[in-house]
């Protein structure tokens, strides 16, 4: 899938891309290309990247690279894959009924789900909100248990 979407491995690349994506939602997928769930997600991302291209930018970040560990700890990424949304260098949160609003964990059931999520984020961002609610029904949202450090 990396031949269609860019994969970033360096911290500087991630920085530049967050800074330079203006007026478009930036979708950063943190994961590795060998993981099956990640592949599923990547598939959906690839196919819808062109359709969403007018208001979103989709980029893959390889979580196994050393420089990226900084980001992994900053965003508290434990589950693979995790997707973080940005708009004009602001981190966008989404309330999808799960415990963690700062990222989207797991894959999407369909392409259309991903497009809906991106659109919701875009609308919210254009209105000036920093957190939006998820338009998907709860069956389509992948569920997971948050692990706490000592529990």
């Amino acid at each position: 899938m990396s031949y269609v979407l860019r994969t970033l491995r360096k911290k500087r690349e991630v920085d530049t891309i967050i800074r330079d994506t203006i007026d478009k939602v930036l979708v950063l997928r943190f994961g590795r290309s060998s993981d099956p769930v990640c592949l599923h997600l990547d598939d959906a991302l690839c196919k819808s990247a062109r359709e969403v291209s007018k208001f979103a930018n989709v980029v893959l970040v390889d979580i196994d690279s050393d420089e990226i560990q900084v980001y992994a700890s900053y965003f508290d990424i434990t589950f693979i894959p995790s997707t973080v949304f940005f708009f004009n260098a602001h981190h966008m949160k989404m309330d999808s009924g799960t415990a963690d609003h700062t990222k989207w964990v797991g894959a999407f059931h369909k392409k259309q789900d991903f497009i809906d999520v991106v659109e919701a984020i875009y609308r919210g961002a254009m209105k000036g909100k920093l957190i939006v609610s998820c338009p998907l029904p709860s069956e389509r949202i992948p569920k997971y248990q948050l692990l706490y450090r000592d529990v």
Partner: protein, 485 residues
């Protein structure tokens, strides 16, 4: 035979009744009908003749003889490059070419006349042949070959006709209703055939000569459309200068066949194409693109003719460039369209939603509009405390609903504005406007049973009229305030 000729002549329905009557009365052996050698009328001639010479006079004319002689000389002299310094019109060869063009048109007409003659004579022997073999020269050749023979297996038509036609001819000949011709008629017919063939040969010579010279007279034009068509165009236009002055739309129509004769189907007629139709570029384009190609060819050949008339490019390079351009354009037309790429989704909320209007939409919106009751409940009078559902300021407030001076507590469902308009129109239609169309039209309803009824259907609708609506000039308005003085 005279009566037969007469009946055939009567069948020809191209001429008016007067002329037909005249013909019938004429003496058959006179053979003194004036023939119309005018090139414009390609219609079937109505001739009364017995002798070939009275029909075809062209070969005897001095003009014909002169020109043929000159052409022979020129052809034998071979191609010599005429001095380019001379103005085109002064060149004697150019004059000869102009004459040749006119002559070739005349020869063509002559051949048609002779063909009619042969056909009429040969009808007694083999009537179906004329519908099987259309081309005049082929017909003449076939007639000459068959002669007075009744059995077609002895006649070898190879090389004269395509094999399929030969087969059809042989089959038809075995069942034909014709009889062998008498001797003198046969002689005359063969004579006519010979004459037709010589005329054809002469025409070919003339055309060859013109074509060979075309390359020097109009090199650019002949590169694009070919020398034969170029010669024809020039001939019909009346010279290279005249051709250059014509607009391209006229060039397109040069040599176009006139409107079809009455009774003939127009389904097969090619619309608005002339000599251009005979160019190889036109013939090689697919039929759907032919009209566009014709227009393109006409315009480029007009340009080439203009270049040639001023002798701007004797080498013909201009013509070649134009031809290349034409070829490229026609190729481009035939390209398949580019494949469709799926479009990305539009940015959300970038295009404003299209709002529609109209009666239907208004009626639909009325269902969700705020009712009068709710409006009254929303407002409050100044200084007057409102009542509320739970009493004492708790619960929902009633606003102006139920307060003195504002009407009843139970506000009936007032007529919507739309319904009010409709009701008014209906009333006007039924009871007619009583003349008063301005100011305060009251709805006086004259019913037979109850006498005069005063009803004001707008009473409720206008209780809460908008502030901007002027009730002074309103047609449906009522008195807003009546004070007793």
């Amino acid at each position: 035979m005279a009566t037969l000729a007469d009946s055939f002549l009567a069948d020809l329905d191209e001429l008016s009744d007067n002329e037909a009557v005249v013909i019938e009365e004429e003496d058959v052996d006179a053979g003194n009908m004036e023939e119309d050698v005018d090139g414009e009328m390609a219609d079937i001639e109505n001739l009364n003749y017995d002798d070939l010479d009275s029909v075809s006079k062209l070969q005897k004319t001095q003009r014909y003889v002169d020109i043929m002689q000159k052409v022979e000389d020129a052809l034998q002299k071979g191609s010599d490059i005429s001095n380019l310094g001379m103005v085109l019109e002064d060149d004697p060869e150019y004059q000869l070419i102009v004459d040749c063009n006119a002559l070739s048109v005349d020869i063509e007409n002559e051949i048609i006349i002779i063909h009619n003659f042969i056909r009429d004579k040969y009808r007694l022997k083999f009537p179906e042949l004329e519908s099987l073999v259309h081309h005049p020269i082929d017909y003449a050749r076939v007639v000459k070959k068959i002669g007075n023979e009744m059995d077609l297996t002895l006649v070898d038509l190879e090389g004269l006709l395509p094999s399929a036609i030969i087969m059809v001819v042989s089959v038809t000949a075995s069942t034909t209703s014709g009889k062998p011709l008498p001797e003198e008629i046969l002689d005359k017919t063969i004579d006519a055939c010979d004459r037709a063939l010589t005329l054809d040969a002469a025409k070919k010579k003339v055309l060859d000569f013109v074509e060979s010279r075309m390359g020097y007279i109009a090199p650019n034009l002949s590169t694009i459309v070919g020398s034969a068509v170029a010669a024809k165009l020039m001939g019909t236009a009346g010279g290279l200068a005249a051709l250059a002055k014509m607009p391209a739309c006229n060039v397109q129509l040069l040599g176009a066949k006139k409107k079809n004769l009455a009774g003939f189907s127009t389904a097969t007629s090619q619309f608005r194409v002339g000599y251009i139709e005979q160019t190889e570029i036109f013939q090689s384009t697919p039929p759907s693109l032919r009209m566009r190609a014709c227009r393109l060819l006409a315009s480029k050949s007009t340009l080439a003719a203009r270049v040639d008339s001023t002798r701007g490019d004797p080498s013909g390079n201009n013509g070649r460039a134009l031809r290349e351009e034409i070829r490229k354009k026609i190729e481009k037309w035939q390209e398949p369209p580019p494949a469709k790429q799926p479009k990305p989704l539009p940015v959300p909320d970038s295009e404003p939603k299209k709002k529609r209007g109209g009666r239907r939409l208004r009626k639909m919106k009325e269902r969700y509009a705020i009712t009068d009751m709710r409006k009254l409940a929303n407002r409050m009078q100044f200084g007057v405390p409102e009542e509320s559902s739970l009493g004492d300021g708790l619960g929902e407030g009633y606003g102006m609903l139920g307060q003195a001076g504002s009407g009843k507590l139970r506000v009936s469902v007032g007529q919507s504005k739309l319904a009010a308009k409709v009701a008014k129109k209906f009333k006007e239609k039924n009871y007619g406007s009583s003349g008063a169309s301005s100011g305060l039209t009251s709805s006086l309803a004259f019913t037979l049973v109850q006498g005069i009824e005063l009803s004001n259907p707008q009473a409720h609708a206008h209780q809460l009229g908008s502030g901007t609506q002027s009730t002074y000039f309103s047609e449906t308005g009522t008195f807003s305030k009546i004070k007793r003085t």
